[in-house]
């Protein structure tokens, strides 16, 4: 364990810079993915006939191996092969793939009694979506977001293979130098990162859904 700590202290500056890259590569796609998944999921819920094709397409998207995606994107986007933005775009795809069904199901989980009542109170369609349906879908969407966050964190490391340096580099170093400490350090940091994302999302969901905990008398 001391050798892991020694490795960390001796490589502190580059590890911190990798950590920064890893953080934004995991976080930005999560936010972008959610923003894209919301309207798509809304569509799949609003027009029920579109639910099967949209969710199937999203499922297929997720089955594309990440390496293939990271390597094809530069050609599609016209970006440099080593640009981190390829990874960000790829992970955004995965986030969308994971969240579309969740968003649609979350919106669908809101009781029709509640929605009818909202319409009858005089909410316009848009007001009803933002003031009633979306807030009530937060618990379901939040659960999906947690899965997507953890999945993103672990997928970021794959980017090392295509030369985008971030914390995944620790595994490359561990492999090429046949050294254990960087690998263990990488594992620890990734697990902590995944937990951190999880806790942040969980906290946000709790903040947004005080009624859920008040449910028990």
């Amino acid at each position: 364990m001391t050798s892991v700590w020694d490795y960390f202290t001796s490589h502190r500056s580059e590890i911190m810079s990798w950590l920064g890259t890893t953080l934004w590569l995991a976080a930005v796609p999560l936010v972008l993915g959610l923003i894209i998944a919301l309207p798509v999921g809304w569509l799949a819920n609003r027009y029920r006939w579109s639910y099967p094709p949209i969710t199937s397409a999203a499922g297929l998207l997720y089955t594309i191996p990440s390496l293939v995606l990271f390597l094809t994107l530069p050609a599609l986007l016209g970006t440099k092969i080593l640009a981190p933005v390829n990874v960000a775009v790829g992970l955004t795809f995965y986030t969308v793939a994971l969240l579309v069904r969740t968003v649609a199901d979350g919106l669908n989980s809101v009781s029709s009694d509640t929605l009818n009542a909202a319409a009858a109170m005089g909410y316009t369609g848009r007001q009803r979506f933002f003031a009633v349906q979306l807030p009530l879908a937060v618990p379901v969407i939040g659960a999906g977001l947690r899965v997507a966050a953890v999945s993103n964190v672990s997928l970021v490391s794959v980017a090392s293979v295509i030369g985008v340096t971030q914390l995944g580099q620790l595994f490359v170093i561990g492999y090429t130098e046949n050294s254990v400490p960087p690998t263990i350090l990488g594992l620890i940091i990734f697990v902590v990162l995944a937990l951190l994302f999880d806790v942040i999302i969980l906290g946000a969901v709790r903040l947004l859904t005080p009624w859920q905990r008040a449910g028990m008398r």
């Binding site: 009781s111 009694d113 509640t114 009818n116 009542a117 909202a118 319409a119 009858a120 109170m121 005089g122 909410y123 316009t124 007001q127 009633v132 807030p135 009530l136 859904t209 005080p210 009624w211 008040a214 449910g215 008398r217």
Partner: protein
């Protein structure tokens, strides 16, 4: 006033939910739409606020054609209460009630203040205001639903089986309070139910609908009971309607007999002299009846001690002096002593009456109605009850 003018709702598959409906829900009155499931009553209600659009015909709100008012604007002017209250689970009780005023642009403080007044009005303690709907009982949620519908003081209320999902005791309570509230507020109310007893209890007018979305009869409740338009209505109104019709006949003019009473806490021996036929009526210090005590057949030795509540028979119902013949008859029939207990509006004991006295009164009243009917022919047709 809400007026249905040849309103039809036909779905693309050819199903006719509402067929050429014509009726008027008068201002300040409760108009109940009642009928078996699938009779189009809820569809009719939902066409009023354009949750469903009619295929043909018009629905008028006073002198305005509802089809020409924007749905959101139309709905903000109509309170709406549904079966499971349909409260917003993510908003506190007070914010649920403030919904429509906020939509209408009232500032938050004023809207909340108004919401608190309404919670009080529907009989909810103010400490529930900060709770979420999930923390309330079904009956409490339903009250919040009513408060929410009243919040913007709309002239019109639409109510879709609002009391159906709560247990019978709470339902009766909510109905009574609703009637009291309506006495103060005088809203124009369209009320949907499948329960004919509820329709008769609450409605100023009742529209009985039958399968296929047709209006079978539109009448006052008493008229519905005494003159069902056809076999369907007679069957739907059901059995016991002769007895239930007494619920619309005031019992004023019924003479009561005096009765010696005993008070709680008096020695048991006191019942000896004051009991009639072995039963004595027990009252509290305010002369409010508490129950009957049986003293016939008891030996003197058993009559030691005081009159305590656990000795009382609580079987009898109480009839208000200002109540109906139905109450009076029920009080007499349910009383263990055979003597129905009549009280005044404050619940104080007035006197007793027997079932035969009530029946004699009913007979003579019926005779005078028959006499009136003979002079105006065409009414009073005999209708056979259809087994349901």
């Amino acid at each position: 006033m809400i007026r249905f003018d040849s309103v039809t709702k036909r779905y693309p598959d050819g199903t006719v939910a509402v067929d050429n409906l014509d009726f008027e829900a008068a201002s300040g009155e409760i108009t109940v739409l009642v009928g078996p499931s699938g009779c189009g009553k809820t569809t009719s209600l939902r066409m009023i606020n354009r949750m469903i659009e009619p295929t043909s015909g018009r629905i008028w709100l006073d002198d305005k054609d509802t089809a020409k008012i924007k749905p959101a604007q139309l709905r903000r002017g109509m309170g709406y209460v549904i079966q499971h209250a349909g409260l917003f689970p993510h908003r506190t009780v007070v914010d649920n009630v403030a919904t429509v005023p906020l939509l209408l642009g009232t500032d938050k403080r004023t809207a909340r203040k108004r919401a608190m007044e309404l919670l009080d009005r529907v009989g909810l303690p103010s400490n529930l205001a900060r709770r979420y709907p999930g923390q309330l009982s079904g009956g409490q949620q339903q009250r919040v639903g009513v408060a929410r519908a009243l919040a913007a003081d709309p002239p019109v209320m639409l109510m879709d089986e609002p009391f159906s999902a709560v247990d019978p005791v709470v339902r009766a309570q909510l109905q009574d309070e609703f009637l009291r509230l309506q006495q103060d507020l005088g809203k124009t109310i369209a009320f949907v139910t499948h329960d004919i007893d509820e329709a008769i209890k609450l409605g100023d007018k009742v529209a009985v609908m039958r399968a296929g979305g047709k209006l079978a009869q539109f009448a006052e409740p008493a008229e519905l009971l005494s003159h069902p338009a056809d076999a369907f209505v007679a069957g739907f109104v059901g059995r016991d309607r002769g007895y239930r019709a007494l619920g619309f006949a005031e019992s004023g003019g019924l003479a009561t007999a005096e009765e010696d009473v005993v008070r709680l806490g008096e020695p048991l021996r006191a019942t000896r002299d004051r009991a009639q036929d072995g039963w004595a009526l027990v009252v509290d210090d305010e002369r409010r009846p508490q129950g009957w005590i049986a003293v016939g057949g008891l030996a003197d030795s058993a009559l030691s001690g005081e009159i305590t509540p656990d000795l009382l028979n609580l079987g009898g119902t109480l009839a208000k002096q200002s109540g109906t013949l139905r109450e009076a008859l029920d009080a007499a029939l349910s009383s263990p002593s055979g003597r129905g207990v009549v009280v005044d509006d404050d619940g104080r004991f007035v006197g007793t009456l027997s079932a035969s006295e009530v029946l004699a009164h009913i007979e003579s009243r019926a005779a005078s109605i028959r006499h009136d009917t003979m002079t105006s022919p065409g009414r009073g047709a005999f209708t056979s009850g259809v087994p349901t």
